[in-house]
């Protein structure tokens, strides 16, 4: 299976050599040749070479120094302005270079100048020796400072990464009333550290790959060794490595490229920007994928059930959590089905409506020029347009739109007799219900499928709805996320896992981890047998 996946993905990966224009291909080749060239021993020559290759970009600073060792050996520092921390650079790199003497004592100890710098001089956390341009560029654009010394065909890359970064803020997508307020940031290291701060275990392992020919984006994946299924990890590693693309700007790229199923509206990879949610998933034996440059962390394998779980479910008492969970499922079905059920009832099954209500509805619909399904379709479309407009607008203009959209269109369209008030009610309620879903990507599926259901309801009534629902059900039963059937634990039915689906069972009942994530260690809570003993025994 994984073999098939890899092949499929390669085809869709962005930079297939054949598809690139000739000029670009030529340039890439040239770039590769230069990257493979070794460093020279002359600082001047290196600088010229570097300048030529980087197109004399002004943000790349070449700082020339002289070493304090008697014969003033020239030293060259290369760094990218804005990507380094200036103060750290001054204090821990430049100052030591000026101040300290490279003395005979060190030479006597058989220490080369670079080793001496690395071991004794530089006061930075990471300082590594680099030999070729490829590595130098990699480090340079990560925010390292490259140090070259005359007469040595090697360089040192010192970590002075800095520059402006967004701080830790409260996540915007999934608000909680009770629960931690921190959200992931755009820096992958800060994010992994946040997870480490939650799970302080030596078994929290991390692996890293660099994806994107041009963006060179660091992508890390974390898991708890012994909890996460080895085959999921192997599969993920394989899939990540087989991605060939020019750039990864957001974890959405990865999500789309590693997903099992290409043609599905349903998300098979979960994303979230809350460290507590990701930590909880790690504890259940899933694997988290962190991508540099985005606060959205991916979690695999993700089954349908996961998208109905909210962080707060576990921070509140189980009774209210269960109630909210049920509410969420109901809302999902409302968001999916309500307009089509309305259309089916009005168009085909009027007998289902109690007589009083039917008379009311009939009176409202009197004089409305369109059939019910067209009304519903128009209003759904209007709503989607409004929603998209409000999301993209600056918040100041957003208010205007909501007034224009909500009041003007909503009210006057009814007053003018173009659509009936019932449709407006149905569509607005659907809209509200669609916002209940804690996960945005599942809401998208409901949004898209709603239109298909509407179409089916307008042509075949309830029978149409049943058919499309069956179709969706078949599709849901068919797809998998990293080998785990998407509808687990409903189908295949896993009884014990039902404790965290429609209901959220009390924590003291959920003694085992979900079984079908193929995690290797099942027991989540274990009472020490010593404590269980009766006092007299």
């Amino acid at each position: 299976m994984s073999g098939r996946m890899t092949q499929g993905r390669r085809k869709s990966g962005g930079t297939d050599e054949k598809r690139l224009p000739k000029a670009v291909k030529h340039e890439t080749e040239q770039l590769k040749r230069i990257e493979e060239m070794p460093l020279t021993a002359s600082v001047k020559q290196n600088m010229e070479m570097c300048k030529k290759e980087l197109g004399e970009s002004p943000d790349i600073i070449y700082r020339e120094l002289e070493l304090n060792n008697g014969d003033n050996t020239p030293i060259l520092l290369i760094y990218v302005q804005g990507m380094i921390d200036d103060e750290r650079m001054n204090e821990f790199v430049i100052q030591p270079l000026h101040r300290d003497r490279y003395d005979v004592e060190s030479q006597a100890q058989d220490m080369t100048m670079l080793k001496w710098m690395e071991k004794k001089l530089l006061a930075t956390g990471i300082a590594v020796e680099v030999k070729d341009w490829k590595l130098i560029y990699q480090k340079l654009f990560l925010g390292y400072c490259i140090i070259m010394v005359e007469g040595v065909a090697r360089a040192i890359a010192a970590n002075v990464v800095g520059g402006p970064r967004r701080g830790i803020e409260e996540p915007k997508t999934e608000m909680v009333i009770r629960g931690p307020r921190e959200g992931f940031t755009e820096s992958v290291r800060a994010n992994t550290a946040m997870l480490r701060r939650k799970i302080r275990s030596p078994r929290l392992w991390m692996e890293q790959v660099t994806i994107g020919d041009l963006t060179q984006t660091p992508v890390s994946f974390m898991y708890i060794k012994g909890l996460a299924g080895e085959d999921v990890i192997d599969d993920l590693r394989e899939r990540l490595k087989s991605i060939e693309i020019d750039g990864i700007l957001e974890s959405g790229y990865i999500e789309e490229l590693i997903g099992d199923q290409k043609w599905t509206p349903f998300p098979t990879v979960m994303s979230n920007e809350r460290p507590d949610v990701i930590a909880a998933n790690l504890l259940e034996g899933r694997v988290a994928v962190l991508v540099d440059g985005t606060p959205f962390v991916l979690v695999v394998p993700a089954t349908l059930n996961v998208f109905f779980q909210s962080a707060e479910d576990y921070y509140q008492r189980f009774d209210i959590a269960t109630f909210l969970r049920l509410l969420r499922f109901v809302s999902f079905f409302i968001a999916l089905l309500m307009p089509s059920v309305y259309v089916a009832i009005i168009g085909y099954h009027q007998e289902m409506i109690p007589t009083q209500l039917l008379l009311k509805l009939a009176a409202q619909r009197e004089g409305v020029p369109f059939p019910a399904y067209l009304e519903a379709f128009i209003m759904e479309l209007v709503f989607e347009i409004l929603r998209e407009a409000v999301v993209r607008m600056p918040s100041a203009a957003g208010n205007t739109i909501s007034i224009v959209g909500g009041l003007v269109i909503g009210q006057s369209v009814v007053e003018a007799g173009i659509v009936s008030p019932a449709v407006v009610i149905v569509v607005s309620f659907t809209a509200i219900a669609s916002f209940v879903s804690p996960n945005y990507s599942l809401g998208i599926a409901a949004r898209l499928l709603r239109f298909f259901l509407l179409l089916a309801a307008s042509t075949l009534g309830f029978y149409g709805i049943a058919l499309v629902t069956l179709f969706i059900l078949l599709h849901l039963s068919n797809i998998r996320s990293f080998g785990v059937p998407y509808m687990t634990p409903f189908a295949p039915f896993v009884g014990p896992d039902l404790k965290d689906t429609f209901v959220r069972a009390p924590l003291w009942l959920m003694k085992e981890r979900p079984q079908r994530i193929k995690s290797d260690n099942k027991v989540r809570q274990q009472v020490d047998p010593e404590l269980r003993k009766e006092p007299g025994q």
């Binding site: 098939r4 289902m352 007589t355 309830f462 069956l470 078949l474 039963s477 068919n478 189908a491």
Partner: protein, 475 residues
């Protein structure tokens, strides 16, 4: 293929198999069966369903006994082993025809129902073709997906049926059952005649599902099937009890889709009225499952007769055949009743009970058994493209090696003669009987060839038993 390959084999658990069997049976037995039964057994028709309960299991026993001898093969494949390749293929052709007719009938049932009660102005061919598209999609996706869908529909179907019955409880009238057994016990026994033909003999589709059940599921299979038969008997009996209690015998025997009509009686404070469409939706689900399974059995049997290594190319052509066939297979609903009550039981009993019994008899007499993998299309084709990755010959070889390795473990079916004797003598503890069989086999010579074991007394035991089964099922 990674380590996840095991999950991708199209194998289903015993629970899933039991659930789809339930869905299959409910598909027809709730739709039109009560009408046919009520016409014969009147107010005692609920007893007919109780009587039919054990027969369900005895018919399944035939398939299970055959499956024990050929655990990895479907009906067509062991038929070819037992009575020769060409005779086996000829026999399979009758099954292909049977499944084809059955699929058309089921499709016609649902479209009749929808046309008469829900969508009176929609042309039948449109309902048929839209339904068939979804069914074809389901069959195309394979048995695993079908089984999972069945699991979900099973749960929802049960919930909705339960809700409907609860809502109906205020309309219940016990006087409708009187007089109980007015015409003696014979009338409910006669009433079970259509039940034998209707869902029970059609269970022969299950022979295509049995070889797909996981190795871990096999020991639990009998228990699960017994449970599901109990559930099925219970559900259909309760349903009939409600039908008679709510509508009265004369209504039930007149209405073509009685449960649907029963749901029309629901009236809670004039607010919850006319919710029969909910029942219709449940039916669409159960009939959908039944049709999917029929078409699956049809395509798989055809593929196996023709020696194809996948059934998928057949789904589309068969769908195109089934839709028009369903339109001219009956003239009208009255004709449906006539065929269902008169002809169908005989025809399907021949296919579903008689032929398998004869095969079982031959198997017992010749002592043939074979735990080799049949050339079953599905295991290598859950992910259609998967099969292309590795040449089929290699897979077949790997399979063979695996099956050989398992042969020593698979003492349970090899001992089936003995194991079953025990089991049938004490039905409540099948697992124990099997276990003891397994243990004794494990302790004794596990390399003993299957043939050696089967030429003792056990086969004759089996023969006796199958004869007794025939007796019981013909009652």
């Amino acid at each position: 293929m990674g380590k996840t390959a095991g999950l991708n084999n199209s194998l289903i658990t015993s629970g899933q198999a039991a659930k789809i069997l339930f869905m299959f049976a409910m598909g027809s037995s709730t739709l039109i069966l009560p009408t046919a039964v009520a016409a014969i057994a009147k107010q005692d028709s609920w007893l007919s369903f109780l009587i039919a309960g054990p027969i369900n299991y005895f018919v399944l026993m035939i398939y299970l006994a055959l499956n024990d001898r050929f655990p990895r093969m479907s009906f067509t494949q062991y038929a070819q082993k037992l009575i020769g390749v060409w005779a086996g293929k000829a026999l399979s052709l009758t099954y292909i025809f049977f499944y084809l007719i059955l699929s058309a009938l089921v499709l016609r049932n649902i479209s009749d129902f929808l046309g008469l009660s829900v969508l009176p102005q929609t042309p039948g061919w449109f309902i048929n073709s839209t339904f068939m598209i979804v069914v074809g999609y389901g069959v195309f996706l394979g048995i695993e997906t079908i089984a999972r869908t069945g699991e979900i529909l099973f749960t929802w179907g049960l919930i909705i049926i339960f809700v409907v019955l609860v809502l109906l409880s205020n309309q219940f009238n016990f006087h409708n059952f009187e007089p109980i057994l007015y015409q003696g016990l014979m009338s409910p026994i006669k009433g079970s005649y259509p039940i034998i033909g209707f869902p029970i003999a059609e269970f022969v589709f299950f022979t295509s599902i049995l070889p797909l059940i996981t190795k871990q599921g096999k020991p639990k299979l009998r228990k699960d099937l017994k449970l599901v038969i109990v559930c099925l008997t219970f559900a259909s009996t309760v349903m009939t009890v409600f039908l008679i209690g709510v509508m009265g015998v004369s209504e039930v025997s007149r209405s073509p889709f009685s449960v649907y009509d029963m749901a029309k009686y629901i009236n809670i404070e004039e607010i919850v009225v006319r919710v029969e469409i909910l029942v219709a939706i449940v039916w669409i689900g159960t009939v959908f499952m039944k049709l999917v399974l029929c078409v699956y059995a049809l395509t798989v049997t055809t593929a196996q007769v023709l020696g194809l290594n996948t059934y998928r190319p057949l789904v589309m052509p068969y769908s195109v055949i089934i839709v028009p066939l369903s339109i001219f297979i009956y003239r009208n609903v009255a004709h449906t009743k006539e065929v269902a009550a008169g002809v169908w039981t005989l025809y399907s009993s021949v296919q579903g009970i008689l032929f398998p019994l004869i095969l079982l008899f031959i198997a017992v007499l010749t002592g043939k058994r074979d735990s080799e993998y049949g050339i079953f299309p599905s295991p290598e084709n859950t992910d259609g493209k998967n099969a292309k990755d590795s040449p089929p010959a290699e897979q077949a070889e790997a399979r063979k090696a695996e099956s050989e390795a398992e042969q020593s473990e698979r003492t349970e079916p090899e001992q089936s003669g003995e194991g079953q004797t025990e089991q049938e003598q004490s039905p409540p503890k099948p697992a124990g009987g099997q276990k003891s069989g397994q243990q004794s086999a494990a302790s004794s010579d596990s390399q003993q060839s299957p043939r050696d074991q089967s030429d003792g007394s056990p086969p004759s035991d089996m023969g006796d038993q199958s004869a007794s089964q025939t007796g019981q099922s013909e009652e």
